[in-house]
Subunit: 591 residues, 2 copies
């Protein structure tokens, strides 16, 4: 079927269901960052394969909204269809809201699969269109009816993460969660976010790319723990575990009827921002709801001692792989053709050589020259270029190891670069170094610290249009809330607590020229305590050299020079036992 | 009358008025930082002369709560009375709330003068004691009945601040205020804060120490402007001005009846946090109230071009006086006895020599040695000590000049100081320098920047227990909201806007040893603008040398050394034309 034929089939179904507009977002049932193949309805109907976009189909036209990362790709992929592309962020582009207000007729019907729309968005559409008395039909999945050979929901087996890695039993986590429920006066708790569930049960799966979680819901009361899951995914070991822990199992899609049946005078705690619209609509108005951040989101952000040990070991392995990669790259790109894709493949291969490596922790970025100025660049055979002298090569990648996850960006100078490029690289590096040696009183949040990473760029009238740091999950999502390091604050600032793990990734992007980003992972630690309070500091977990060829050493203070020297000495001590003589000799030049 | 006789007289009145507990705070009718003599009821009843404290009298006992600044003073001043002192902040000290809950009998009466209690506190007492059905009587001033020879309310004349100084006419300010009212849907606006009223009308008075405001209320509608004021204070010039501007005059205390009479379907905008409890209780429930920060509070924080020019001129004069003072101090303290009070007097005399000097802008701090470790130290004949070798002398003072107000702290090394003292001084100085050279994107608030001033102390496990900076009013309160520079945020962060003026005052206080604080005044300025947005920076307005004898130069980076050198060069250029040859030669040694 061509794209237009698919649109035609959908329109026929819309007519027979009295639907004026059908909306298809990119999410799964859990608002995950990456989604499984089963959920790629937006890609099915439009042919657009980017990770982010929203489709709306009416009887007269078909529309896709996507952002700047995907303008060129979307134009290509929509070429032979009637789709109209709306480039979000450009001026004079109609918003989805304005489109719906203009195109859905009064007393008409807007439909979507309420399971793939967030509670927030669903309620927003309800409110937006109430002035036109538009009916919102959210209990339908029309794509399912026309998508022959739709991939099945993942059946990937679930595995148990032992306490050697988690550092805390399911029972202990459950006790903490129930304490938190009781403190808030809740007797039950609906948990929809996949990373919270995986963390709580000490289980991992493989249903979602780059995030080893499994499709499920959990419902916790003060006495019971219910898990809604496709039980075919359970191995003998995990089934035994859940049985021993007296977890009550339900089928994955029974959650809707289960929640609908909660009609007693219950006090239900849930995080509505993590709940899909259809599920939120099942909640009876007789229930008292406490809409709050999931306590597990806060718990899991603070890694315990055993987790930290395992995470450090994962970073050691990652340091070996990445250091080998940098040596290979620097010594070979002039001898053989190395393209962005070849380099990315090499780095993944080197990670795979490490024991307990599971998979990349996110979609890798491997970008040369002007490509590196695109913050979310993703190399493809169409865009791939060879690495050459005179510019920067940037690689932002990470690995999930059994026990820990990594996220690292290095930028490498190839051949001679201009003094201006060195100056920019050095200012980014100075920011990275300043943040990692920060010391601060307990109570500080990322908003207080961000300027340390940004100050050298700001002093040069430069900036980077992303946060300085995000929380990093442990064998979960590599972008994990609630902590972060950024200067603009929308919501409540989050205090940096001992055991939190964050990225430290200042950068600089000169469009059509080059990009620089230097990213290490930081662990929040307690420093000394005295009459002023508890001092906190960061421990850097990433041990991969910074390219000395890219540094203008005249810009570094004594303190920075000594910090850099110590950092490279630590790398050498940690990594060199696993390097070849050649690699070791090369690494010695950093000391 | 002794203190106990005064308590007795009050108790007799309490019996005849059926009052179980009588509460006396330290405020005036406008929650001013300093209060006029008329308002010193708490001092009258207790004998305690400190600026802050709350008294509660019952039939069986008399109590005073005050904070750490005043423990010793309060103990002395309460000595021959039945007053029990409660030291706020120490453990095991009963709070006012707990005291009221325990001591006011069920169905009893707590009374206070609702005009000197904030709306917030009054409502808090109402709510706190509602469980005991306690009646709150707020329309009484029992102290007035027993205070023979109570000082009259100030009759100090009001003067007009010309547009040469204000840079904006009353009419223009009124138009801006009314625009702001209309944007919020308000048709009337009650203004109770004295600095807002003085700013709006371009008038100044002398009713409150250190703050040239006048007791008044204003009521603004879209067509009218009402001013409630003791008209005896109006000079011919100010009366003519108000008449020309068609301001409707009322007697000062008519505001209560006026507000009570607002019974139509009005939309009244006011800042409840700046409204006294009695006045807030006059507002009819038929009115719609918009409780918001006074627009004038935001307007006046952003100084206009003419104001900035005048403020710079005031700082130039202040720099001359203060530089002369430092020379005098450094070259004389070994020759003649200079005590804290003598030094303070000398500095004030030197300021008075400057044209257009009006008065000190706040209660001056002149502190030697261990006294300087007391952040709010106030020297008195009892505590006064001579300045001697081997420690720091700290002076935190400021002046109101016609056109501008200053606030400056300098710390001076006397004789030889220890390397540790130099290290601490240098770290405080490095913080001051770092904040003043900060560059940041528009949208930053003080919370984003505070760490720049604090970082060097935090790196040494040290801290100062006050904010880094406060807003500074222009011939108004030297502590002015809403902007500030601090790392802890309670409320909404305030974006730093062009024209705001703030202090930059990191410090360090080692109890019983010494204190260091270095305070300059900063002006928020626009720097360059590009694709990243509007960059902002600070311009330092204070031009008084830092004591080079106190600096460990080995701790300064090249950047800091050059910044310091440039700063002292600017001081020399600005101040030296007004110095004697001796003073000039001394100042040359800073270059």
């Amino acid at each position: 079927m061509t794209t237009n034929e698919r649109i035609g089939a959908l329109r026929n179904l819309m007519i027979s269901n009295d639907i004026d507009a059908y909306l298809i977002p990119s999410d799964d049932f859990h608002q995950s960052e990456y989604v499984g193949d089963y959920f790629k309805c937006r890609e099915f109907i439009s042919g657009f394969t980017g990770s982010s976009g929203t489709v709306i189909i009416t009887q007269s036209s078909a529309h896709l909204w996507t952002d700047g990362r995907y303008f060129i790709q979307a134009e290509n992929e929509l070429q032979n269809s009637e789709f109209i592309l709306h480039k979000c962020g450009l001026s004079d582009v109609i918003t989805i809201d304005d489109f719906l207000l203009a195109e859905v007729p009064a007393n008409g019907t807007l439909a979507f699969d309420g399971r793939v729309v967030s509670s927030f968005d669903g309620n927003h559409y309800l409110e937006l269109l109430s002035c036109k008395n538009v009916h919102i039909e959210f209990d339908c999945d029309l794509i399912n009816e026309i998508w022959k050979n739709r991939p099945a929901l993942s059946k990937a087996p679930i595995f148990l993460l032992k306490e050697d890695y988690t550092g805390e039993s399911f029972a202990s986590k459950l006790t903490r969660l129930r304490d938190s429920m009781q403190k808030r006066g809740a007797v039950s708790h609906l948990l929809c976010s996949l990373d919270d569930i995986a963390w709580l049960f000490n289980l991992r799966g493989n249903d979602v790319a780059y995030t080893p979680v499994f499709l499920s819901y959990a419902f916790i009361t003060l006495e019971q723990a219910h898990l809604f899951i496709d039980q075919e995914k359970l191995t003998d070991e995990t089934l035994l575990f859940l049985t021993e822990q007296q977890v009550i199992l339900h089928h994955y899609d029974e959650i809707y009827a289960f929640v609908k049946a909660l009609v007693f005078e219950d006090v239900l705690m849930l995080d509505l921002s993590k709940t899909n619209f259809k599920l939120s609509q099942q909640i009876s108005s007789t229930l008292t709801c406490i809409d709050t951040i999931n306590p597990t989101t806060i718990f899991k952000a603070q890694k315990n001692k055993i987790e930290i040990e395992c995470i450090k070991e994962a970073h050691r392995k990652d340091a070996i792989a990445h250091t080998k990669f940098l040596y290979w790259l620097k010594s070979n790109y002039k001898k053989v053709v190395i393209t962005e894709l070849i380099a990315a493949q090499k780095l993944e291969e080197l990670r795979k050589e490490q024991e307990n490596f599971l998979q990349p922790s996110f979609s890798p970025i491997s970008a040369f020259g002007a490509h590196a100025a695109i913050v979310h660049y993703s190399s493809s055979p169409e865009t791939d270029v060879p690495l050459e002298d005179g510019s920067f090569y940037l690689t932002d990648t990470g690995g999930h190891y059994l026990g820990g996850s990594t996220d690292i960006t290095r930028t490498v100078a190839l051949g001679n670069i201009t003094p201006e490029m060195k100056k920019h690289y050095t200012n980014v590096l100075k920011g990275n170094l300043a943040l990692s040696r920060a010391k601060f009183l307990y109570g500080c949040s990322g908003e207080n610290l961000d300027i340390l990473a940004r100050q050298f760029l700001w002093n040069s009238n430069l900036n980077y249009l992303h946060g300085t740091g995000h929380g990093i999950g442990n064998l979960l999502s590599v972008h994990e809330g609630p902590c972060n390091i950024k200067w603009k604050y929308n919501k409540e600032p989050v205090t940096l607590e001992q055991g939190m793990i964050l990225s430290n990734e200042p950068g600089l992007y000169l469009e059509n020229h080059y990009g620089i980003r230097l990213e290490n992972t930081l662990l929040v630690c307690e420093d000394s305590k005295n009459e002023y309070g508890q001092f906190m500091c960061f421990e850097t977990l990433t041990f991969v050299p910074f390219d000395l060829d890219a540094i203008d050493f005249s810009m570094l203070t004594e303190e920075e020079l000594s910090q850099l020297k110590q950092y490279h000495q630590k790398i050498y001590d940690l990594v060199s036992p696993n390097l070849s003589e050649e690699e070791k000799n090369w690494l010695e030049t950093f000391l």
